[in-house]
Amino acid sequence: MSTEKPLFPPLLRRIGLRLGAALPALFCVILFTFIMMRVLPGDPAVYFASGPNAGQAEIQELRHRMGLDAPMLVQFLHYLENLATGDLGRSLTTGQSVAQDMHDRLPASLELTLTALAFSLLISLPLGLTSAWWSGSIYDQCVRAFCSACFCIPPFVSGILLVYVFYYWLGVAPDPTGRINIFLPQPPRVSGLLLIDSALAGDWTAWHEAAGQLVLPALTMALFVIAPLTRMTRAAVISVLGADYIRTARAMGLPTWRIMIVYTLRNALMPVLTTVGIVFSTMMGANVLVEKIFSWPGVASYALDALVSSDYAPVQGFILLMACLFILVNLVIDLLLGVLDPRVSVE
């Protein structure tokens, strides 16, 4: 855009710095999860060699195959070595490599979370903006009550309730069994996000189906984060409204909508964006329950299943994935902030 300042070198430098700073944290995460997974009670070998005739020999064999009989440090070094080559280990629950499982399932979680995020932003941005605009009014109090109400419904309750009402009772929602009508062929995988893939393939039936499947789980997820997002938006807008330039804009007789959108919301977006980053990564990992209730083939339910069966590799892989995702999301948000706020890109 602007020709005076070289855009790329500082940009790349920023990305590099950010990623570099994240490495120690990443290592901590790896070490931490490794240790935690190992102190988890339950011998995975026993669990998996649980056929009625499996004896000690089979258990021992499985332990050996899983490398569980080596000293802890050796196991860890081995794990790091594998990580370096992109090998996250093998899941015993699905029998596939964890990397493959992640590759298969991450798009499902991403699609769900992104949709949920979009829903919640669509709801909370206007709510936050308007309740801040009329802060202290009855409307404001109502919005607050609504948000608190959304927040206090545990996702497991709201999920079950939504399914109950919209699927069993009204019958308007499709069955809560995954991402797309099971009888339809899946669109060829490009991005893994069904909405995108089916649109690319021009398969609008599939698109509608996939979109339909998304509505309820995304709404369940969204409900839970509406409160923090609205709260943040409201606070940000209120602080922007107190700024001198809003007063200037009013004094210059700018139309209200322009003050609201261009002057207020635009500036309030920056703190909101930071929150969105946190919300996004927590949603990705934390909504295990939603994925469970809607049989969503995502990474969180995958990790949960693995956790219950002491299948180490997927849980480690999952947490690592989350950490990487978090770093990535933060990076993206950082760059977005740079775009949104001209002041950031200068320092």
Partner: protein, 288 residues
């Protein structure tokens, strides 16, 4: 100024003011007081032993004898809800208290010291807060074993970074304020500055966060116990009751979900609204 303001607002003559300015929060406070009272008086007012089973009278709908009906073992739902209130509130309070004390200590120290230690802690805390905390809590309960104490620890541990973060930023924001520098000039030792100057001043903010956090802690505990982690049977707990009751939802036994679920939601709602109200009182931006 805002802090003292906050404290003085709660002197008696200001209660009316609080009610006028924050009617919703005042209502929430009243509701919460009622719940706490019910929980405290539970052993006195509950009509039945919350643990005594009576299988022949299982799954009775609400009636004169059993106000909220009975569950699958014939236990009185009303008595169980009261007993659960006691448990849930104490879980939430102790979990929040533990993480608050630990988090504020670490956060104050880091925020005041600054430097590389602070930056490292900051980054770690950042990563931790973005962690799949719920999964982490699950793993923690799995590691530590199923017991109420462990549920409390798990909830406390995943809250811990949150308090570090608040305490850290609150302290860091005040570290260079005039009155802190004035304390240095007055010959105050750094420890004393943190304990006697900074801590009392950040406490109101922390208290507000804690009240919001209490609701979250209850929710978290309920979520974990919904997945069958933490609370051993037959201890009554709202999340467990909802989880069990959900099974009977489709056969029309609504009272097993509606009452405990309702209590759960009302309690969390009260904590949130109260915390929100307090925050608004505190936040100078929302005041004229």
């Amino acid at each position: 100024m805002t802090m003292t303001d906050f404290m003085t607002r709660f002197r008696r003559p200001d209660i009316g003011r609080f009610v006028r300015r924050q009617p919703v929060a005042a209502l929430a406070f009243a509701g919460l007081s009622a719940i706490v009272l019910l929980a405290l008086l539970a052993p006195l007012i509950s009509p039945y032993d919350p643990l005594a089973s009576d299988v022949p009278h299982a799954l009775l709908p609400p009636d004169r004898l059993h106000w909220f009906g009975t569950d699958e073992l014939g236990r009185d739902v009303f008595s169980r809800i009261l007993a659960a209130a006691r448990l849930d509130l104490s879980i939430a309070v102790s979990a929040v208290a533990i993480s608050l004390v630990a988090g504020v200590t670490v956060g104050c120290f880091c925020g005041y010291q600054g430097g590389w230690l602070d930056r490292v802690t900051g980054r770690i805390v950042d990563v931790l807060t973005a962690f799949p905390l719920f999964v982490m809590a699950m793993a923690l309960v799995a590691v530590l074993g199923n017991s109420i104490a462990n549920l409390i620890y798990a909830t406390a541990i995943i809250n811990f970074p949150f308090y570090i973060r608040i305490a850290r930023s609150e302290v860091a924001a005040r570290r260079n304020l005039g009155w802190v520098e004035a304390a240095h000039v007055s010959g105050t030792s750094p420890t004393r500055v943190v304990l006697m100057f900074l801590l009392p001043n950040i406490l109101p903010t922390i208290v507000v966060q804690a009240s919001l956090n209490l609701g979250w802690a209850i929710l978290n505990a309920a979520g974990l116990s919904f997945l069958g982690l933490g609370i051993p049977v037959p201890t009554p707990e709202w999340g467990v009751m909802v989880a069990n009751g959900a099974h009977f939802m489709s056969s029309g036994r609504w009272w097993l979900v509606v009452f405990p679920g309702g209590m759960l939601m009302v309690t969390i709602l009260c904590f949130n609204l109260l915390g929100d109200g307090l925050r608004d009182l505190l936040d100078p931006r929302t005041r004229s």
